[in-house]
């Protein structure tokens, strides 16, 4: 996902000399193709995320479209007031790239787990929040956010995610992508929504449910803000259960965004929220291990849904 994003960004930045990339001293290897091909559009701000984000705002307010780059919580939580006051409020064209959303850097410890970022950034008026589900979505998202005015948060996984889409027709920021339709003959039916790189687990879970005779209408919500109200409304009207899956605190993030729409609509639908409970993860382990601790692996998601709908 990471490398696909940089590749697309290089293409875009070659065509538009006002696109700049500024890093908070991260991206060894990853950013090399960018700074070698576009040396004049690259900057290292040092280990100084507040300054990096302010500088990005200043450049953006002077005609540039600036991508900030860092990992985990550093490009977001570490400099949230710069994002709020200097970027969002000023409608500055700053696009924040985070590598390592969720438990990507799980074994590195709590500082490197980006598990509250969606909630915090989503609360800032005027910031678009994009969490692509696979490398194909990520590449589309880069072009999409360049064309989205103002401040955007792009939350990525790492490298090596499985491609779920071969290609995407008509990708639009704010419009969820349908992954599957329920089989007509299925007895029970549910909708599964996910955001971010956990899409792979959600997709496998949906397959497992289908094999067990439960029909699934599945969507990838690559945009959490603005949320796709139409898809939520249609599914809330059709199904008794909507499942949300996110590698993030279930408080304040994607599940909350979906439930806000459902309560607005006044629909009676049960929301099954899969994600991290409202606590700091003190366990050490790799991404897959930590997903397992919180019931976020495909088989666990499928089992949970079966249990709820039986």
């Amino acid at each position: 996902m990471r490398d696909t994003v940089i590749k697309t960004l290089i293409e875009e930045a070659k065509a538009n000399k006002d696109i700049e990339l500024i890093t908070g001293d991260l991206g060894f290897g990853v950013l090399k193709p960018f700074y070698e091909q576009l040396p004049n559009q690259f900057t290292n701000a040092g280990i100084a995320e507040q300054s990096m984000t302010g500088i990005a705002a200043g450049m953006a307010l002077s005609g540039k479209t600036v991508f900030t780059y860092s990992i985990g919580n550093f490009p977001t939580l570490r400099c949230v007031e710069q994002i709020r006051n200097d970027c969002a409020y000023m409608k500055a064209n700053v696009k924040i790239i985070c590598v390592g959303g969720g438990f990507v850097y799980g074994s590195l410890g709590m500082s490197h787990q980006a598990t509250d970022d969606i909630a915090i950034i989503r609360a800032l008026p005027g910031v678009t929040v994009v969490c692509p589900g696979d490398p194909t979505e990520a590449a589309e998202a880069v072009t999409g956010i360049i064309n989205t005015p103002g401040t955007v948060y792009l939350r990525l996984g790492r490298g090596g995610e499985k491609k779920i889409h071969e290609k995407i027709e008509n990708f639009q920021i704010g419009k969820a992508l349908k992954i599957r339709e329920p089989k007509a003959e299925a007895g029970k039916k549910v909708a599964i929504f996910s955001t971010g790189a956990i899409l792979e687990e959600a997709t496998t879970a949906a397959q497992m449910l289908e094999e067990a005779g439960i029909g699934v209408e599945q969507y990838s919500f690559h945009t959490v803000k603005p949320i796709d109200r139409d898809v939520i409304a249609a599914c809330a009207a059709k199904y008794d259960y909507i499942v949300t899956v996110e590698e993030h605190n279930i408080l304040g993030g994607f599940a909350s965004a979906v439930s806000e729409v459902i309560t607005d609509l006044g629909e009676k639908v049960k929301l099954i929220k899969i994600g991290i409970p409202d606590e700091y993860c003190t366990a050490v382990g790799n991404q897959n291990y930590l997903r397992g601790l919180y019931g976020m692996q495909a088989a666990q998601i499928a089992a949970r849904v079966k249990e709820e709908v039986k």
Binding site: N40, G46, I47, H112, T282, V284
Partner: protein
Amino acid sequence: MTGEQLAWKIRRHGVEMTHLSGGSHLASILSVADIMGKLYADVLRVDPKNPKDENRDRFILSKGHAGASVYAALAESGFFPVEELKTHYQNASRLSGHVSHHVPGVDLSTGSLGHGLPVATGMAYAGLKNHKDYKVYVVLGDGECDEGSVWEAAMFAAHNDLKNLTAIVDHNMMQSMDFCEKTVALGNFEKKWEAFGWNVVSINGNDHAELDMAFNKQFDNEKPKVIIANTKKGYGIPFMEFDILWHYRFPHDGWEYDLAVNELHKIKPAGVEDPYTPNGIENPAPVPPGADIYNDHTTSATWHPNWKN
């Protein structure tokens, strides 16, 4: 154990732990090993039997990515079994890549740079307010000093005469992608600290006699002390020294691990045992032709902006 012996053990554990786990930041562990060895052998008044003693000295490794160095120092000082070091980074371990306060003897979890000095300042401030005589020590990276929060706390600590606070900067000249001077120049680093009101001692931070002098040096004022420990990133394993690759790469099976271990054996002080490979590696894998060794991996090696022209 002497500081020098403990420093060697930290290096040897660092190689083993990153080798087993595929963990990063070995070069950062190697540069700080002498500082950590000195602290845990001679400086810190801490007790493994009573790790939360309210009168203990406080210690924060603010450059938390060198977590293996503090875990190794604590294990070798009796805070938990040395065997546990092998679980570093592993599923269900306590030893996360960055420093965790769930490990006995650790006062603060770290990992996000620029947090350690403010928290150490708070501990020192409360110590004086409570009329306690404990001291507070904090180790920072030089790249970490890019963070504004470091200087905000530095100003506060000097303003409040926190003489019980000592900061040690592991000035290994490099950060994450390049030398500090090629990233954001630190300028006259000693003068910066002086200008912020601190007592400054600048030494070779890989030399135990100089570390001893620096920790013991007294000033007849109430200001906090900073030891600028000039070190080499990767110190002790020549092929890792000042090669930014080793901020990320772990010693892989084969020549990387074998050569790393044998280089350490060349500088092993008398009286320490290597718990993993007591006599070094007898038939080390040779460095193959074309191996990625002694190459320049910095950004500035291939980044050549010319917009100023």
